[in-house]
Point group: D2
Chain length 252, copies 4
């Protein structure tokens, strides 16, 4: 049985060529998550346990893949930003979605100890290439603006529903309101100050890497250094310049 006779089929593998020295972003998205959240009775408009689980999965991936310089998550999606210097490949997108999904199942019971996982969820991955820092920042602005818009809408929607309005009527009531009217509705009708809602819901989660150096004494008695790589989870604005001047991300 000649192995070599068939090996020519390897040349048919397709690997998309990626532009070097550009920002490479993989965005994972939960597949069929409206059904999944219903089946597992997620709290509305936000379930803190689910966001914590997402953040733990993303942190694990960032610890494993040093090329990732930042990750941003909200709802059932997570974006991973790879360093411009990394020699990434598009195959990376399938590994990332695979790692995330298996970590999600693996870590489930830690965040949902009382909720049995009924079936295995999955995530698809899109890839995008951003030529300049401005494009990358605009991408992240897009996702954080999306987080804000969805959360404001969902907060109003579920308050209306909890107050007895039907799902359909709540949708109708909200469809033509602008942001300021939604803020006003929350405040006047439900006594909720939107800006006082936890930032994790309004801003999403921003994961950055923290590298710490410790002085240690090596076995032979001489002084040495130990590196500790950890992941910090922030819930801050990444649209304005402040975050970017405080954190040296773009030069990584």
């Amino acid at each position: 049985m000649a192995k070599s006779k068939y090996e020519y089929v390897k040349q048919f593998e397709m690997e998309q060529q990626i532009l070097p020295e550009s920002w490479f972003v993989v965005r994972l998205d939960g597949q069929g998550f409206s059904k999944f959240t219903t089946a597992h009775k997620f709290q509305k408009p936000n379930d803190k346990r689910a966001l914590d689980l997402m953040n733990s999965c993303a942190s694990e991936i960032m610890l494993k893949v040093p090329d990732i310089v930042l990750a941003y998550g909200q709802s059932d999606e997570y974006s991973f930003v790879f360093s411009k210097k990394s020699k990434y490949f598009t195959r990376r997108s399938s590994v990332t979605s695979s790692q995330f999904a298996s970590a999600y199942v693996f870590n489930w019971s830690k965040y949902f100890p009382d909720v049995p996982l009924l079936y295995a969820p999955s995530f698809d991955a899109r890839i995008a290439i951003y030529p300049t820092d401005r494009h990358l920042r605009d991408y992240l602005c897009w996702r954080q603006a999306d987080c804000h818009i969805n959360n404001l809408y969902n907060t109003c929607f579920w308050e209306l529903v909890k107050s007895g309005v039907s799902n359909k009527q709540a949708e109708i009531d909200l469809c033509k309101t602008v942001s300021s009217e939604k803020n006003e509705l929350l405040f006047s009708k439900f006594g909720i100050n939107y800006n006082a809602i936890d930032e994790i819901y309004r801003k999403g989660s921003v994961l950055i890497r923290k590298v710490e150096y410790f002085n240690v004494t090596t076995p032979d008695g001489s002084a040495g250094k130990r590196v500790k790589n950890s992941i910090q989870i922030l819930h801050c604005d990444i649209i304005r310049d402040k975050f970017w001047s405080e954190h040296n991300i773009l030069d990584l």
Copy 2:
């Protein structure tokens, strides 16, 4: 906060164009599985529980994705063959690897009831396009020949090791033997007839879809038909013509 202002970044998403009416194959490969199998004390040369777990994950995916007409698995890899008629996209590769990995973790305890899963494994995905039926069959020949070659080697290797030979020496002993010598070694030294070893180890697993129609009586009393989609797991030769003439795969 204008959402639209940032939405232009969507056009930077890359989606590889795939040749229509060609065979599309996604092959998943376990990441770091030699470490994983050691950590979880997999039996050598083959662990039936691990293969059954792989097969259950692949079956689940085939049931969910009607475009898959055949799947072939061996060791820690699985190939999914998509119908030439399907409107697949390369993003499909990330979903498949994600579904597989989360199913692997989800189903773990069913196949390894006594082995706690220590960490979440992952799978990467390669895609290949095969223009003709001949190319597709050669691809599957390649994988099945690889299964045979690896299994014959591993069977010899672990028999030698179990008999007291060191790992290193076993490697040296085997490195220059051809197939017939390995067969002879197994028979003369360990009384093993290689061809009597279970086919799941020698041939791998071939998953095909079985569609059955049942006559049913509908609630209003009239006659109807119900379709039942199931997956058959075979451990047969797919190199010779017999399999292909018995199963109508290539026209699906």
Copy 3:
């Protein structure tokens, strides 16, 4: 002045990966040729000189590029079919369009001795990949059917115009006629039997390679063989099987 310092920019060159062992077709199309044919007073509906010029350019390219197994031309377009076995690259499309355009200008005066070339024309190139022989044949059917449909329409149109009908009216008269009505119009009104019109106009031009071997006497007196590669220009049907069984193209 360090050259090496800048050479990293080479890695940004994009070369599209092409599926191996598939049919690769480059189709050239004249850019702005309705303006070009008007400026150079091409005869209507067909200018034999222009078609001969196109055929001479295509023949030159086929002689230079052994990987081309067939070429098909009509009007201001030419398709070049590369052997499935060739190691082609997409860059090939730019060379082909370049060779064709410069040959067109170079050979112009031979076919239009009395018409000065007023400006340099150009051709764009599209590439397509066909996985099987059937796809390739369907591609060529598409182009030859297109030739027939356009030629039938143009023959009617210009006969009407020559008979005094305005361009606009001719268009209106023809827009809803089917093929049989156009044939009838030509015959009853202008005494033209469409099927008697020269095949070069109705079928386009099919270029195939002819390889001849000659017995020669080498300088040292011994017998040798000389190969002569020439291009044959046919104006035959390539939709039906006859052409393909008479000419061994698909196995080249």
Copy 4:
């Protein structure tokens, strides 16, 4: 003859997706030009007529294609830089190589009135995508440094050959010299001050667009404006910042 039946083959056309808002460069390269320059007895080390012909072809293309913001030529190559804002396609590369080659043949006799063109030359096209202005400038530095290095070498080589040294010996003499030694050789042996050599040979040709507005009186007597688009040919340094601060290219 159903046209529609075959039209499905159109979907097999491959058009490479190009990253938006990035610099897109098409570089043309003469095919087999060492044979071509020998056949047409080009003067060595540089033939002014040939460079003027190249520049005239490139100017024509820039006038026709408003998306090109800069072109750079040297020897038998020309690079065209397309605006970041343009909606270019990779097919553009085949049109550019086609336009250039036909213009080359068309304009030949104007620059080589006494040299009959023996055969039609051709040019291939490579495409590269540069994500940032820095990458684009480095690309142009690479080409201009290449121009300098080749011209210095060729000037030495042909002076040696003209002085009676064999081609082979001249190659040996030069192969290990650095730039300063080549400059010294030219000065001490042949009385040539390299820096006094015409800039077109040392720097290549830089084409930029000049848009002029003229006040005109329209037929109805009112004041109007006429735009005149012309191409300026410079032979200046484009490695240092001076050129880029004087010419507003990067924001076009």
